[in-house]
């Protein structure tokens, strides 16, 4: 790994503002995007692998592959929409600059996940249960998402217009990302499961699962609920 890539990754973590300036310069965009992809694969891949250590076996490889895939798939679907939103709200950003900005943000989040990986691994090794693992990983995703937000905010501006663009982008990204991850589950895998599938059968959407879980939480169960309740992240 050459010094330039390491320098860019260091800049991703330390200086979101200069990363946001870099995406506007075509000369800097290619190395930044390439380094971001590398960080995303390494960071999210490692975190995915660590999450699957409780289940072990082939699940580790699957999760190492699927977590970066979920993030990349979400970006592929969302970045054109981000560009359209930014332009519609009066912020002139090229599609290539938005790709750079979004990938840099995702890379920063992935590096934060990488930083969490040893602690999560320790917790899983100490016997943290399945549901505890889900909660812990959700917390890690939340914190890493907040770190990504700083890069996006630096690129889109911190004025009212920038905040409005960011809110609209979040409204697109959250359901898309959730559904992408839902389709690619399981990431953790139940220890008792005999076989580990790469993908679960298509049985519901993320929104269906949230709706059903909300009903279940207040004691309303149905036949449909049963199958959803067995679903796993």
């Amino acid at each position: 790994m050459n010094a330039r890539v390491l320098g860019l990754l260091d800049e991703l973590l330390r200086s979101p503002r200069s990363v946001a300036e870099r995406v506007q310069r075509p000369d800097d965009l290619r190395p930044l995007v390439a380094s971001s992809l590398l960080a995303l694969l390494a960071g999210a891949g490692t975190f995915g692998a660590v999450l699957a250590t409780a289940r072990g076996g082939v699940q580790i490889g699957y999760s190492a592959l699927k977590l970066p895939l979920a993030i990349v798939a979400t970006l592929c679907l969302c970045v054109p929409a981000f560009t359209a939103i930014a332009r519609a709200l009066g912020r002139r950003l090229e599609l290539s600059a938005m790709v750079g900005l979004s990938l840099s943000a995702a890379a920063r989040a992935s590096l934060v996940l990488l930083a969490f990986a040893p602690a999560v691994w320790f917790a899983l090794d100490r016997g943290l249960g399945y549901h505890g693992s889900v909660v812990l990983s959700t917390l890690c995703y939340g914190v890493s998402g907040l770190s990504a937000l700083r890069v996006m905010a630096s690129g889109l501006g911190r004025d009212a217009r920038g905040v409005a663009i960011l809110a609209c982008c979040a409204a697109v990204m959250l359901p898309t990302g959730a559904q992408s991850a839902w389709m690619l589950r399981p990431f953790i895998g139940r220890p008792a499961q005999a076989e580990v599938p790469f993908l679960r059968h298509k049985e519901s959407s993320f929104a269906d699962a949230v709706y059903t879980s909300s009903r279940s939480s207040v004691g309303l169960y149905s036949r449909r609920t049963r199958s959803y309740a067995e679903s796993e992240p």
Partner: protein, 230 residues
């Protein structure tokens, strides 16, 4: 549509994108091949980036022709009129000469900086590489000097480009101002200011110019002699 159908469509689009990325790549060889390979896999993200490298704005081909034409037409507009002292023949010729020399030098700088030996990125990478390899301060000094020289050349190119651009705008405004004054018969209120601005830019160009011996196509005059308007 099944997942398999989607993957086939994605792959087909990826192959088409890879072909576009390879054809439009500014370089050939390993860099273009790796760009095309990445594009085949991640075309929704990589294709805009690959195309942006191609769309990189080429350095403006400022030959100064439009500026010189505007200056000469401005001079002709006041020729034989009471406004002639504003832009006399000697002053116009002096400006034309300086603009031409600056435009030639700018073109030379653009050509020079496009060569790999004068690449700023390559000079920075070389210095980084030497630092990483643990070269001594003495060993790093030539690479630092080279980098600094390339930076200064780039700075000169930027300054010439900016000044020529400003001169172009000013000379266009001067031409319309003097033509307007000639036909309206009134006194050009802002023309004197514009002429002063033009001279200021010409002085900037002159401060970085080293005219080669015998290249004085136009007779040179001191600005204070050639610029009656002050």
């Amino acid at each position: 549509m099944t997942l398999g159908d989607l993957l086939i469509l994605y792959g087909a689009a990826g192959l088409a994108s890879a072909s576009v990325a390879y054809r439009t790549s500014p370089e050939r060889g390993r860099s273009a091949i790796s760009s095309a390979a990445l594009d085949a896999l991640l075309w929704p993200l990589w294709l805009p980036v690959a195309l942006s490298a191609r769309r990189r704005p080429a350095p403006r081909a400022n030959t100064g022709d439009a500026t010189r034409a505007a200056i000469w037409e401005a001079h002709e507009a006041v020729l034989g009129s009471p406004l002639e002292p504003l832009l006399p023949r000697e002053a116009a010729l002096r400006i034309l000469g300086d603009v031409e020399r600056a435009a030639v030098r700018y073109q030379e700088l653009v050509g020079l900086l496009a060569q790999p030996h004068f690449s700023l990125a390559a000079a920075e990478a070389r210095l980084e590489q030497l630092s990483r390899e643990g070269a001594s301060a003495r060993g790093l000094a030539p690479a630092r000097l080279h980098l600094e020289n390339v930076r200064q050349l780039e700075e000169l190119r930027r300054r010439d480009e900016q000044t020529l651009l400003e001169l172009s705008e000013l000379s266009t405004a001067l031409r319309t101002q003097l033509v307007l004054a000639r036909y309206s018969g009134g006194a050009p209120t802002d023309a004197g200011d514009i002429v002063s601005e033009v001279w200021a830019r010409v002085e900037v160009l002159g401060s970085t110019l080293q005219p080669p011996l015998g290249s004085a196509q136009y007779p040179a005059h001191a600005p204070d002699q050639a610029h009656p308007a002050g």
